[in-house]
């Protein structure tokens, strides 16, 4: 009996020492992620506020105070916008117009001009937007990112995109043109004029995030409160726009290119998502 007690005491001392060692490791500053400090190519261009209706506020970056938006104000890459009840705001992004609808929080994730191409990334954290992308002398690389899908556009008018936690995302194309939706796992769906799609349950994503770790999360655009909210709901944070033609399981990309010959992806490389299911996109196979 005494020997057992002695063994228990030794075990407890060992646990104490290992906890101290692990605690020291956890207290070490995290190493910066690879590629996090890489500056994207191109020159930053501002977005100009064309119209304001109701309570619209902006901040230049996370941690800065929110201030009311004025007509004619210029917003730089990284700025956040939020609108109140029945409040709206129209932004001129050089090659596109974006209307931020009521009850929306949106971030200008990227707005750069590289040669003759304008790269635009809008990150919808919550709410709805409408957008018109002009097809003209400026080449557009325009994408709207929501937690559940990325919408890529070239020369299209009447785009609607929205996302609310618990209600899912909704994408709609009103007028002529073509848009392509890309899910977090690389699934691509083209939308024709008049079509809309939504995913009220996000069941596939919830399933995957419960079965595995959340794939390729990018927390650069989110503050701690938002990260906590995303983690609580097992909801992936807005991903950086993945290539519509990039790596992803089970999609006949050749036919998509035939349907949308103008679609050329010029953004950053797609995150590599390991395909452990041999092309089965309905989740991992059951292995007893």
């Amino acid at each position: 009996m005494n020997r057992a007690m002695l063994a228990l005491a030794c075990t407890l001392v060992a646990v104490s020492l290992s906890a101290r060692v692990l605690g020291g490791d956890a207290a070490a500053p995290p190493a910066p992620a690879a590629g996090q400090d890489q500056e994207p190519p191109g020159e930053k261009i501002p977005a100009t506020v064309k119209t304001v209706e109701g309570t619209v506020e902006t901040r230049p970056s996370v941690g800065q105070p929110w201030v009311a938006v004025q007509v004619g104000q210029q917003l730089a890459e990284g700025a956040d916008l939020r609108t109140g009840f029945r409040a709206r705001c129209v932004l001129d992004l050089s090659d596109s117009l974006v209307q931020v609808d009521p009850l929306t929080v949106v971030r200008i994730g990227g707005l750069r001009k590289d040669g003759g191409t304008v790269h635009t990334r809008l990150i919808i954290k919550q709410g709805n937007t409408q957008a018109d992308v002009e097809k003209g002398r400026i080449k557009s690389d325009f994408a709207i990112v929501t937690p559940s899908a990325t919408l890529s556009v070239r020369g299209t008018r009447g785009i609607r995109a929205g996302h609310f936690q618990g209600l899912g995302s909704n994408f709609q194309l009103l007028h002529a043109g073509s848009i392509l939706l890309t899910g977090p796992l690389g699934h691509a769906t083209p939308l024709a004029p008049g079509q809309q799609t939504n995913n009220p349950g996000l069941s596939a994503m919830n399933f995957l995030s419960q079965q595995h770790q959340n794939p390729a999360m990018d927390n650069r655009g989110l503050e701690q409160m938002e990260q906590n909210a995303c983690n609580r709901h097992n909801n992936p944070m807005p991903l950086p726009p993945v290539s519509p033609l990039g790596s992803g399981p089970t999609q006949n990309l050749g036919s998509l290119q035939q349907e949308m010959p103008g679609l050329v992806y010029t953004g950053p490389p797609a995150p590599v998502i390991p395909d452990n299911n041999h092309g089965n996109d309905h989740g991992p196979e059951y292995e007893p």
Partner: protein, 202 residues
């Protein structure tokens, strides 16, 4: 007796270091914490704007009765009232006929709302009559939620499920669109040309 003494001796440093509860271990080189600055005098409570309220509500895990009351006051008054004070918000909703609903008029501000009672409030606010059972029994949570799901105002689910903050924001947005559609109006569409558009573009 000796073994018990050994156990006690082993447990004391563990408890002292906080390793039981998984507390963060202080690094030896960490400087001593600075003495706390004197707390500033409490300023007058600032009422957040509706944009701030809805943006922060979107990240809440569960919507509370105070959140619902404020959101409904903003919705009912079309943005004219702030609804920041819970009791004043309930009084305002009483004057508009939304209350009493059987739940919000008795709830504490920190009580979480469920989908059924939110659907009841939405139906009472928008004047939704519902189908046969709802007309017979009134907007009880079960049938009110079914009606709200049918009208695409809310997502389907059990009427006893709690409502996330982002879901409440989405319901308010959809309810406002529904109200506009009932009045024969449309939310304004995007018009105009970007500055980089070619001349003469449609």
């Amino acid at each position: 007796m000796r073994a018990r003494l050994l156990c006690a001796l082993a447990v004391i440093p563990l408890a002292w270091q906080g390793a039981w509860a998984g507390e963060a271990q202080p690094t030896p080189a960490a400087p001593a914490p600075a003495p706390a600055a004197p707390a500033p005098a409490p300023a007058a409570a600032e009422v957040s704007t509706d944009a701030q309220f809805f943006a922060e509500l979107g990240y809440k895990d569960v919507a509370l009765a105070s959140d619902v009351a404020r959101a409904l006051v903003i919705f009912t008054s079309e943005g004219a009232e702030s609804g920041a004070d819970f009791e004043a918000a309930r009084a305002y909703l009483h004057t508009k006929g939304v209350l009493p609903d059987g739940w919000l008029d008795k709830a504490r501000p920190e009580d979480p709302i469920d989908k059924g009672h939110l659907a009841t409030l939405v139906c009472r606010t928008l004047g939704i009559k519902g189908g046969l059972m709802m007309r017979l029994l009134g907007p009880v949570p079960r049938y009110a939620l079914a009606e709200c799901v049918y009208l695409e105002l809310m997502a389907r689910g059990a009427d006893y499920c709690h409502v996330a903050g982002g879901e409440l924001v989405g319901v308010i947005d959809r309810a406002d669109r529904f109200r506009l559609a009932q009045a024969g109006k449309k939310p304004p569409e995007l018009e105009g040309q970007p500055s980089g558009a070619p001349e003469g573009a449609p």
